[in-house]
Amino acid sequence: MREQSPDMATEISGLNKWYGSFHVLKDIDLAVAAGSRIVICGPSGSGKSTLIRCINGLETYQGGSIALGGVKLGDNAKETALARRDTGMVFQSFNLFPHLTVLSNCTLALRRVLKMSRKEAEDIALHYLEKVRIPEQAKKYPAQLSGGQQQRVAIARALCLNPRLMLFDEPTSALDPEMIKEVLDVMVSLACEGMTMLCVTHEMGFAREVADQVVFMDQGQIVEQAQPEMFFGAPSHVRAQQFLERILH
C-alpha cells in the first residue's frame, strides 16, 4: 500500500465504479496536491461528475480507494465524516435550501454541525457572502436571486465550513451566459487565494487562466492529464483533439 500523504488534498487510486453492468469509472488514479487547481473536462457521460461525487461520498464505488488529506475514506466512519466536512461541494443546480434565507443557508451547518452560536455563525457567513460579493442579499430567499447570485451563495455556503478542498460540479452549466462571468470571477479569486480546487467544467477560458493541470476523461477513463498550455496547444490523444475541436471554435 502506498503511503497516503497529508500534503495531498485528495489521492485517488485504482478507483472503479459500476452502475449495474455499466462500468462508469475505470481504474482512476488522480492525486490533487494541496493548493493545486485541477480542471476535469470531457464529453458528457465520461464519468467526470461521478468521479468528484465519489470524493465527497455522494456516490459509492466498488473498487480502489480515495484519501482526503491523508485519511482513507471508509476505514473509520468518524474520520471519514470529518474528512468529508473538509470538502466543499458546489452543484450544477446550486441546491440551495429554498425555505431558508441566504444567511441561514450559510449558517445552518455552522450551527448544527460545528455547534457555533448564532452570532459566530452569522459573522462567518457574512464574511464569505462579502467574499462572493453579495452580502446585501443575506436576508433574501434563494428564489429572489438570479442564477448567478444563487451559485455564488452556494459557493459561500461551502466556504463557510472552511474546506481544504473545493469540488465544483459544472458550476456554470445551468447559468445564462451573462451570469457565467460573475461566478467564474469568484472562482478565479478563490484560486488566487490558494484554494485547492477540483472543477468539472467546460469553461476552457477558466481552465487556461487558473488550472495547474487539465484532466481529460472519456468513457470512464482519464485519457490525458497535462498542463493547460500542453493540453490546449498539443493534446496528445486523438479523443482529446476531437473534443477540443468541438468546443473551441
Binding site: 465527497n56 455522494l58 465524516a81 466543499g88 461541494m89 451547518a109 448544527r112 428564489a143 455556503r157
Partner: protein, 219 residues
C-alpha cells in the same frame, strides 16, 4: 310541526358544551395521526424488513373502516387484558386510522423535494436527523399544506364516530337531545352549523399557514 327557532337556540348551550370534547379529540387525533403517519413514512423510506411491514400496515389501515378500529380497540382488546377508556380509544382509533392516509400525503410531499436537497445536506455535513428536521420536513410541509388541511377537517368530521363509545362530543349530544324530545331538526341543525363553523375556521387557518410558508420562498 315547523322548525322551532326558540327550541333550536335552547339546545345550543348543551351542544356547545361538548365542543371542548370535539376539539380535544380532533386536535390530539390530528397530532397523533401526523406523528404516527410521519413515523410510518420514515420507516417505509428506510426500506428493509420494517419498511415492508409498514407498507403492509398502511395498506391494512386504509382498507379497514374507522368504526372497525374503534370497536376493535374498545371491545376486543379487553379480552387480551388491555382496557382503555372511551376517550383514549376514540383518539387512538382516529389517530391510527388517519395516520395511514397522512403517510401517503407525506410521501407525496417528500417525493416532490428535489434530490439535490438531500445531497446538499450531506455535502455540508448535516446528520440524517438534522436533514429531516431542518431540510426535508419544512419543504414537505410547504408542499402538502393544502391536502394536510383537508385531512385535519376530515378528522374533525370523523369525531362523531365516537358516539358509539358514548363519548359526549357535539353530534352525540345533539342526538341525545333529539331522542329525549323527539325533535330532530333543531338539535341536529345546530350541531351541523357548529361543525361547519369549525371546519371553515380550520381551513382558513390552514390557508394562512400556507400563505406564510409559501410567501417569498416559492421556487
Amino acid at each position: 310541526m315547523g322548525f322551532d327557532f326558540a327550541f333550536a337556540i335552547s339546545t345550543v348551550p348543551t351542544i356547545l358544551g361538548a365542543i371542548g370534547t370535539t376539539l380535544l379529540v380532533a386536535l390530539i387525533s390530528c397530532l397523533g395521526a401526523a406523528g404516527i403517519g410521519f413515523g410510518f413514512e420514515m420507516l417505509r423510506r428506510s426500506g428493509g424488513l420494517s419498511g415492508y411491514a409498514v407498507r403492509f400496515l398502511i395498506d391494512f389501515i386504509r382498507a379497514t373502516p374507522v368504526l372497525a378500529w374503534l370497536y376493535f380497540l374498545y371491545f376486543v382488546l379487553p379480552f387480551y387484558g388491555v382496557r382503555l377508556g372511551a376517550l383514549t380509544v376514540g383518539i387512538l382509533g382516529l389517530s391510527v386510522y388517519f395516520s395511514g392516509y397522512l403517510a401517503e400525503v407525506f410521501k407525496a410531499g417528500i417525493d416532490a423535494i428535489p434530490k439535490g436537497q438531500q445531497e446538499a445536506s450531506r455535502a455540508v455535513g448535516l446528520s440524517r436527523l438534522d436533514t429531516i428536521i431542518f431540510i426535508i420536513a419544512p419543504q414537505m410541509l410547504r408542499n402538502i399544506a393544502a391536502p394536510l388541511g383537508n385531512y385535519f377537517v376530515s378528522i374533525l368530521k370523523a369525531t362523531p364516530y365516537l358516539a358509539v363509545l358514548a363519548v359526549p362530543e357535539m353530534l352525540g349530544q345533539a342526538f341525545d337531545i333529539a331522542s329525549e324530545t323527539y325533535r330532530y331538526a333543531e338539535p341536529l341543525t345546530v350541531a351541523g352549523i357548529l361543525f361547519l363553523i369549525l371546519a371553515l375556521a380550520i381551513s382558513q387557518a390552514v390557508k394562512r399557514v400556507e400563505t406564510r410558508l409559501l410567501g417569498s420562498t416559492r421556487r
